[in-house]
């Protein structure tokens, strides 16, 4: 099966579809609490009366259904990819959380974990047609092309990281690779097609690694793409969530990522909020039962996630004209 990359240029964040606000949650590193955060965020948005769809985009490693108490999902994304159903509406699962429905990720075969160009195109088109206020896309760990493409396709992008140096490293790499993925797609229409792809037999030294070098190369060899690349850099805004913070001072690690991304990638990465480490939430994650969820709701993390949810609504309101009153 061919593995053509998704043509991101066809899937710029869609601004003409104000009915659904798509928000991707990534982070590069596993175990930083992306799925737990996304689930809590969905719960809080649902409690505020927003209609939320959670999508498990960790293709091949899907398990968000477990967090919502669905041990074996009746339908998954595999059913849509394999055309067993016609629409994503047919695989939406009701959950125990009010106003929250789930698209469970598939993992039946390796091929389904790596959808091809056509399959990904179909998924993305269908996602934008869903009727809801928010689509929360929970991404897997790592920087696979699928993960990057889903991340780049959403107009709002959250990066979850913990205060650990490994998480910092992975978060930075994730942002950098996402940016290069976007630039690579723009360059695919030019003579520099494939410039950012490492290929066997080519000396790594010949691949420009620093953004300054890449922009230099573009200005010399494909100047017609320079404006589009610069606009793509400006457009790629990312919000950072610090998770499992033991000490409020630890949250300052966000500034490390903020500064490095600004200085070396020209990207605005703003800290949206920090969430204190909450043993009750961790207990829920390990037990996945209703009583643990009830305890987690009284924990110290939820108020912080609530603040983040309010900020997300505020950002969405700015992007969708006429929705301020509703948000208020």
């Amino acid at each position: 099966m061919s593995m053509e990359p998704l043509d991101i240029t066809q899937y710029q964040p869609v601004k003409s579809e104000p009915t659904i606000q798509a928000l991707a949650v990534g982070g590069g590193k596993g175990g930083v609490g992306k799925s737990l955060f996304t689930t809590c965020l969905a719960n809080l948005l649902g409690n505020m009366g927003k209609r939320v769809i959670l999508m498990d985009a960790d293709l091949g490693g899907a398990n968000l259904n477990m967090m919502l108490g669905i041990r074996v999902p009746e339908a998954t994304l595999d059913d849509f990819i394999l055309r067993r159903v016609d629409s994503l509406d047919d695989i939406l699962l009701e959950t125990s959380l009010p106003n929250v429905r789930l698209i469970a990720g598939g993992s039946e075969t390796p091929a389904l974990a790596n959808p091809n160009f056509g399959q990904k195109t179909r998924i993305l088109r269908a996602l934008l047609k869903l009727s809801a206020d928010y689509l929360l896309v929970d991404l897997g760990a790592g920087s696979s092309l699928n993960t990057l493409d889903f991340f780049l396709s959403c107009p709002q992008r959250l990066l979850v990281m913990s205060a650990q140096p490994t998480s910092l490293q992975n978060a930075y790499s994730f942002v950098k690779v996402a940016l290069y993925r976007r630039i690579g797609r723009i360059l695919s229409k030019t003579t520099l097609r494939g410039m950012l792809d490492a290929r066997p037999g080519i000396n790594d030294e010949e691949i420009p690694l620093a953004l300054d070098d890449i922009l230099n190369e573009i200005s010399f060899r494909a100047p017609e793409a320079l404006t589009e690349v610069r606009e793509a850099i400006l457009e790629l805004k990312i919000k950072l969530v610090l998770n499992m913070v033991h000490d409020p001072r630890e949250a300052q690690i966000g500034q490390v990522l903020e500064k490095t991304c600004q200085q070396y990638l020209g990207l605005d990465v703003d800290v949206l909020g920090s969430i204190p480490y909450d043993p009750e939430l961790v207990r829920w994650a390990s037990r996945m039962n209703t009583s643990a969820l009830a305890s987690a709701r009284k924990g110290i993390a939820l108020p912080a996630i609530h603040d983040i949810a309010c900020r997300i609504i505020a950002v969405s309101s700015k992007e969708v004209p006429g929705s301020e009153e509703q948000a208020a």
């Binding site: 140096p165 910092l168 010949e206 070098d213 230099n216 200005s219 490095t260 200085q263 605005d268």
Partner: protein, 317 residues
């Protein structure tokens, strides 16, 4: 005289030997084309590589690069010459910090340290023979003098002839920022302390300042100072002597050096009022240079910066 010798005479400033004075000046660059044609389609002279190394070892960077430029006519893809250019760029990395050559460094001239990019720039840049400027007169920020034959050639060239390199690497009409600097600057992010010196540093709000290092070289530093209350203006900084101090990442001992604020301007940085400063070092104590070198790195500058900031962050906890 073999072709290479002719070429070297040209690069060494013996422009008269090629009788360029008999040509109209506007057509003088044709001489270079003629020189290139001498090599076109022929095997390179055996000794070109040792000649190149000789220029490089003497710090005559412009001549070394110019030699490659002329020979590149016969090697447009760089299959033979690109390794030599890489050697020049490495010379920059290996010796650029220690050997303060008065000439421009290859990385500055070609505005990149990346060999393939540098080759592309080398091919696009131009060389010309022009009337030499009056002594002390600047050629401009994108023109570099490779060689100068001071023998006057009439009213058109009273100060003789100059073989120059015209940089075309300027993007959108601006010269690459490194092309204006004596030593290449690298990005760096680190908190530093700045103390204004001198009796006229009366304004107490300016005496001790927390600043953020933005880029470094062994001759100067770029800083950003937060100025939220607009307590001072950029003009108050210019020309002042300062002491700069910081603790290198992972070290416990502070390093410091004296510097002069060469330029300053107010700038809004991501919505916050800041003052940007350019410092020229008066002195370069060994431990300070070592610390600066530690902030330097190669293509993985960003990774280095990430870890420097992480170390600063974790030690502050």
């Amino acid at each position: 005289m073999c072709d290479l010798h002719k070429l070297c005479h040209l690069l060494d400033g013996d422009l008269g030997s090629l009788e360029v004075g008999t040509l109209p000046l506007k057509a003088a660059e044709l001489v270079l084309a003629e020189m290139a044609e001498l090599f076109s389609g022929k095997a390179f002279p055996e000794s070109f590589e040792s000649q190149f190394d000789d220029y490089l070892s003497r710090g005559q960077i412009l001549r070394a690069i110019a030699l490659l430029k002329i020979l590149s006519t016969s090697d447009p893809t760089g299959s033979i010459l690109l390794p030599l250019l890489e050697r020049a760029l490495l010379w920059d990395a290996d010796h650029g910090l220690e050997n303060d050559t008065p000439e421009v460094l290859p990385q500055e001239l070609l505005a990149t340290h990346h060999p393939r990019l540098a080759w592309s720039v080398l091919r696009q840049d131009k060389m010309e023979i022009v009337a030499a400027p009056e002594p002390g007169q600047n050629l401009g920020s994108i023109t570099w003098m490779i060689a100068h034959d001071p023998r006057p050639l009439g009213p058109q060239a009273p100060y003789g002839l100059a073989l120059v390199w015209l940089s075309t690497t300027a993007v959108e009409g601006k010269p690459h920022r490194n092309a204006q600097r004596r030593t290449p600057r690298r990005k760096a992010v680190l908190q530093v302390k700045l103390t204004l010196l001198g009796q006229d540093a009366a304004n107490r709000s300016m005496r001790g300042l927390r600043a953020e290092l933005r880029d470094v070289s062994t001759s100067g530093l770029g800083l950003s100072v937060q100025n939220p209350l607009a307590a001072f203006s950029a003009r108050e900084f210019e020309g002042r002597p300062v002491r700069i101090e910081f603790v290198p990442p992972g070290e416990s001992q502070q390093v410091s050096a004296l510097a002069n604020i060469a330029w300053a301007h107010d700038k809004e940085d991501r919505g916050k009022p800041t003052t940007q400063l350019g410092l020229e070092l008066y002195e370069s104590p060994a431990e300070f240079v070592d610390a600066i070198r530690g902030l330097h790195s190669d293509v993985k500058d960003d990774q280095r910066c990430l870890w420097n900031l992480w170390i600063s962050h974790s030690t502050s906890l």
